[in-house]
Amino acid sequence: MEYTLPNRVPWTRQTTTFTRRHLQQLSRSKMIVFLAVVWPVLWYFLTMEFFIDVPADADVGPIKAANGMNYGLFGAFTVTVAVFAGEFARDLDGERYRKFRTMPVSPSADLVGRFLAGFLLGVGSYLMTIGVAYAHGGSFGGLGVQTVAVIALTLALFCLIAMALAMGLAIVITKPEHMTTIAVVAVLMAFFVTGYNGTAPSLIAQNAEMVNYLPNSLATRMQIAVWAGAENVEFMTPPEAPVSASYAGILAGYAAVLSATSFAIIKQFGYGGVRR
């Protein structure tokens, strides 16, 4: 018998196979559906009703829009962290990577497939919250090419941050059943430590400028400033609204570093067989 090495399954098909697998898993998780749909909308209304004090004569439209964006990103972040942390930890814990390592599979297809599943869910969650804010009277700016590009970049970056954070958690915490809870707590900590993802920098006692440099707050502030209009975001200044190209460059840098970190983790701990 002659043995000929067959061509591998194309990378794109491998990626969609992993994406489909995770979407199938997630569709059965009530917790994920709750985090994607109910969680950010709940926070939006809690904030509008109890956490902020709006003067009677103030135009609340931009504030509602800003909160819609803030909690849209918050929801996308939460759900992506939960998706990644839970699913990656379960595959490590269930030793399914022992099987994956014997298959002609590309680690990057695995990673991107997972990311796309989390991202799709995150986008769904984001759009749901934006829709609720819009229906509640939020006044959003126009959707030009630049605005759409910024929204896409910041949303994708949020999901990248979530992915990297979740994968880091998954290799440290070896109990997958606790991962969703821990991931949500981590998201809440990041949210509050950065002054509601940078939308309330006055809550930060010292060095409030950091909100223009930390990835979650920078992405949130940039999106709000671009979409709601820089002239409508006095509530989150100072520091200045991050709308310049240099801030976009910082975000792109974060995206590159976080993607590389995530790839290194999956290659080492998943396909490299390094034990946690």
Binding site: L5, T17, E95, R96, K99, T102, P104
Partner: protein
């Protein structure tokens, strides 16, 4: 098997340690094209770790492994398929979704799983989440996932664990059919029943291959089997001082046939139903001897018991 049969896998000096536990202490193994090789040993002997090393899932500390004329396990991945007990199926997916997932990732994935699940009587359960499966159902799914990939070499790690007797027989038939189709199959097991389909058996003990050969040759090297019913002989009367209970009888291995008389003297045969005799060795005796008793076992290549009948 003729001398011209090709080698599909060669392993030399494979050693693997996990923390303080030296699991493999220097395994040499050759797998020939078109054979059913049974890798046997007790629980914890290192069978799963060895197959993991052979397939690139676990990296050995030292040693050399080559498949298909010089390919590393990593490079040879499209040419083999491995069943790993309890490490494949995603419990949150249905059986069908798991089959679809693994089949889509392999370049030689086929639809033959449809026939396999039918033969293994899993067809009606495919739309249920695997989390609801019993252990036996999960094994069947893993077997279908593994064998539905069309490759020349299969590794099945404990495939009959948790299967009922009818399904074990069905799986044996499937494996024999694969062999007839020219495939090479490596099966790990600690169930003597599985040895019936083996063309070659390699016994793994304490991380080494201690005996390797065709079943008939291995049987020839087994000492006379003592069978006692109605009494228990002293352990000192048998090789390795190790007795094995099987149903209502006790079995062991005599140093030679003359020892039977001494055992009879030691056992009170005046009772009504005491039986002391030499019996033909069964596959269970074969397993017990090479796994627990054989004292002078040495790894293959280092004075191991290497049983061939000229056929290899």
């Amino acid at each position: 098997m003729s001398e011209s049969v090709r080698t599909v896998l060669e392993a030399h000096g494979v050693r693997k340690r996990f923390d303080e536990n030296q699991v493999l202490t220097g395994v040499d193994l050759t797998i020939l094209e078109g054979e059913i090789l049974m890798l046997m040993g007790s629980n914890g002997a290192g069978k799963s770790v060895l197959t993991s090393c052979l397939t690139g899932s676990v990296r050995p500390d030292t040693g050399r492994i080559e498949l298909f004329d010089g390919l590393s396990p990593r490079d040879a991945r499209p040419l083999f398929s491995i069943m790993m007990q309890g490490r494949m199926a995603d419990p949150d997916l249905t059986g069908h979704e798991n089959l679809q997932f693994y089949g889509s990732l392999h370049p030689n994935g086929t639809n033959s799983w449809q026939t396999l699940v039918e033969r293994l009587e899993l067809e009606s359960e495919l739309d249920r989440p695997v989390a609801e499966y019993s252990g036996g159902m999960e094994r069947k799914l893993e077997i279908a996932i593994t064998l539905s990939v069309d490759v020349p070499l299969y590794f099945l790690d404990e495939p009959t664990a948790e299967l009922d007797l009818a399904m074990i027989q069905e799986l044996h038939d499937i494996v024999l059919e694969q062999r007839d189709a020219g495939k090479t199959i490596v099966v790990t097991s600690h169930a003597p029943l599985d040895a019936q389909i083996a063309e070659r058996i390699a016994f793994l003990r304490d991380g080494e291959i201690v005996a390797d050969g065709r079943p008939e040759a291995l049987f020839e090297s087994v000492p006379p089997v003592l069978r006692v019913r109605g009494a228990v002989p002293p352990a000192t009367s048998v090789v390795g001082e190790r007795l094995f209970q099987r149903g209502d009888e006790v079995r062991g291995f005599l140093p030679d046939e003359d020892a039977l008389g001494r055992v009879r003297d030691q056992v009170d045969e005046r009772g009504n139903d005491v039986l002391v005799e030499i019996d033909r060795p069964s596959y269970t005796d074969l397993f017990n001897y090479y796994t627990y008793v054989q004292e002078n076992a040495r790894p293959v290549g280092k004075n191991a018991v290497q049983c061939t009948d000229g056929g290899q």
